[in-house]
Subunit: 200 residues, 2 copies
């Protein structure tokens, strides 16, 4: 484990990077801008991150890791409806918990550019689309899947809607179900983002 001071600085760099990425985009944010915002030297920044891409990885990994887990768990469900429901509820909850990072990840072309070549982002996106699209095969299902995934990413953007996370999540999942033609699972009433859709 790092000394507390080191960990704090690393965390503060990541938080500042996310804030500047959402405001100026990834390509529009230099390491110098992040150092200035934190009132540290560029050398202090280099101690933690040697390149901007290393920093980007540190920013997105806390979202990409859980996303992989949600996708795998969704793929393990038995029916197309259960798979779509699991992905929708899990993705929406992840997006609401990480509103800024999801915007960076889903919307910034400079980020997609880097992550599509270097990481498994392309694979994760295709699997998400497939999980939602399989409820209604053909172009209609694909388009509804893209609309829901893209729509959630945009709707959680910090500037757009000023609502409590719980309310936002509940309505996002409901709107997504409606678009995709999924029934509300019975056990959803006591759970904001149910990941379990028991026997139908």
């Amino acid at each position: 484990m790092n000394a507390p001071g080191v960990t704090d600085t690393r965390g503060r760099i990541i938080d500042t990077a996310v804030r500047l990425f959402t405001r100026h985009s990834y390509a529009g944010t230099s390491l110098q801008m992040i150092a200035d915002e934190l009132s540290v030297t560029k050398a202090a920044l280099y101690y933690h991150f040697h390149t901007r891409e290393e920093l980007l990885t540190a920013v997105v990994e806390p979202v990409l890791g859980p996303l992989r887990t949600i996708i795998e768990a969704a793929e393990a469900q038995r029916t197309p409806h259960a798979r779509a429901e699991h992905l929708l509820a899990g993705y929406a909850a992840l997006a609401v918990r990480n509103r800024a990072v999801i915007s960076v990840l889903a919307a910034d072309p400079g980020v997609t550019d880097v992550l599509l070549t270097q990481r498994d982002l392309g694979d994760l996106i295709s699997r998400q689309v497939r999980l939602l699209a399989d409820v209604d095969r053909g172009p209609s299902g694909q388009i509804k899947a893209a609309l829901v995934l893209g729509g959630i990413a945009v709707a959680v953007a910090p500037r757009l809607i000023d609502l409590d996370d719980d309310v936002l999540l509940q309505h996002l999942v409901e709107a997504g179900r409606r678009t995709l033609g999924l029934r509300t699972p019975r056990r959803a009433t006591h759970n904001a983002a149910p990941s379990q859709t028991g026997p139908p």
Copy 2:
């Protein structure tokens, strides 16, 4: 009117800019990169655009102009449903006709950053959200509106879905209606955004 050669160069600069913006984001694209891609000097580029922001305006104005017209026409409709239907069909058709520019406009934080302060983008976005959200007042309507507008912008992104424009448009409008709870209008068959799903 400009001499044909001048107009062509201007058009080629704009097309190249859109392509590079969608790939590297606006902030990640320099005038030098655009000049290199076109094999012209930076001076030749300066003859048409003095700053990157001037170029961005030239890129987005062909979409922002028609968008203003669609919003005004939608606002003039009598009922909340008719207003939402008009905006949805018009926005989806505009997005499909301008797939690359819509991605730049709706998704790139660096672009929003510039346009929110310099142009009426913020006003246009609020009016669009209001037109769709008024069908179902309260947070649920707002969230569905954001999901549909954001979802359409992401779903038309050139890389995501490989479908004909007509098919894409038809399914986007249908998915949007479904999310918003709009009935398919009878007269939509001869309209720009047809809901025609003829015999299978």
